[in-house]
């Protein structure tokens, strides 16, 4: 995937994803520039390998006196995400974040939001936690805008790679053995009632 000489945006070199790269990428997103497909591809490949290693429910310890910031749906509102980071600081190992799903769809800047979050995950694997929302799925992405946005900004391969990456996201997190974080919620009792109903119908 050759980068044309005319491309003057952020680049990932041999050093991998660095803080300078993330900052430059975010600044260019604010200006409406698109990250070259080659680097978007690199972020996705790296983060996918990282996410695949994680358990389905991640355990995140929070040391006494330390804190962790949990954010809810961002839904493609890149400028809201910037606002959060402006006020609360960028994620780092000292100032960890958990984004609780629904990064994409509905907002106009879903690609910008999700690439920023995923690049930060590569940069700080222990300082940036991501859980899957109902919009990190193919069914939702094709209806609510993310697929179209990726096709407009990149191509069909990237649509597939995003879907594959989303499939690797953990589904929930437990903070310090005390706080259960999940995008939607809890469960249908799957025992007595349904068995009764089936038996009565039978």
């Amino acid at each position: 995937m050759a980068v044309p000489p005319s491309y003057d945006g952020a680049r990932i070199d041999e050093g991998g994803i660095t803080l300078e790269f993330v900052r430059q990428m975010m600044q260019e997103f604010r200006e409406g520039k698109v990250l070259h497909r080659r680097y978007a591809f690199a972020i996705l490949l790296q983060v996918k390998a990282l996410l695949q290693q994680l358990p389905t429910v991640i355990d995140v310890p929070v040391a006494p006196g330390a804190h962790l910031t949990v954010c809810g749906d961002v839904h493609g509102q890149f400028f809201d995400l910037c606002n959060i980071f402006d006020l609360n600081g960028l994620p780092s190992d000292e100032s960890p974040y958990l984004f609780n799903g629904d990064f994409v769809d509905r907002g106009s800047f879903s690609v910008e939001v999700v690439l920023t979050l995923l690049a930060l995950k590569c940069l700080y694997p222990a300082g940036m936690h991501l859980t899957r929302g109902n919009h990190e799925t193919k069914a939702m992405n094709s209806l609510y805008g993310f697929e179209g946005e990726v096709r407009a900004k990149y191509n069909e391969t990237m649509v597939k790679l995003f879907a594959e990456t989303f499939r690797c996201l953990p589904l929930g997190a437990v903070l310090s053995n005390a706080v259960f974080v999940v995008h939607g919620g809890l469960f249908t009792r799957d025992g007595a009632l349904r068995a009764c109903a089936a038996a009565v119908r039978g």
């Binding site: 499939r167 589904l171 809890l186």
Partner: protein
Amino acid sequence: MRCGRALLLCVADLRFGRTDVTLDELRALDRFREPPDEGPMCEMLWSDPQPGLGRSPSKRGVGVAFGADVTKAFLQRNGLQLLVRSHEVKEEGFEVMHDGCCVTIFSAPNYCDQMGCAAPLARAGGAHAASTTQKQGRVYPLPERHGASLHLLRRGAAPTCATDALRVAYAEHDVMAYTKLHACQVFQHHLHLRPTVGFTTRASALARSCLLWLVLREARNSVSDRSRVPLLVSLVPKISSSCESRSCRP
């Protein structure tokens, strides 16, 4: 005979102690897939808390609505103290339910291009730097036992068009003026439809809001191909007026 069989099954279920999903079961889920239409993986992504006790069918048609008793039983069974979830728009950006055991956090104040909501963050952990966070917004402490607090940012950033090209496209054709209000109204409408609303009304509301968003999306992605924008813009009042004439409020 049928009743007898049913009763036996109930007893068997109780004897095997299968009452609810546990954390260990969730840890063992095979998550590397698209979520199915039912079961724990689906419910983790789709369920919502409800004010009443027990469980009800979800207003979304996927997942389940769960009450305070369900939350407390799940937390207790798994040795946990607090449930934090997202998934629903909240005017203040957050809501504490189920006697302080369930917190909803929504961090997109400009969702649907509406302005002025707060963008909350939940800070979990020990003593947080209250002095610095208060400067930036308001802090809502949760019950002491959780060791967490809600840190409420003052408000989101103003909705911004990323590029001058977008701004020009929006200004020329007034896409946003047409669509913003109507899309928001219709969309919010369908999100807030009461559970008692019939399936047909729900389906048509959903269809219209999807249609509006498709148009919005197409307009957004057509910036490089300006010739398509007027066509898309002409669609918006049609969809909007169809929404007004057939109000979907219950």
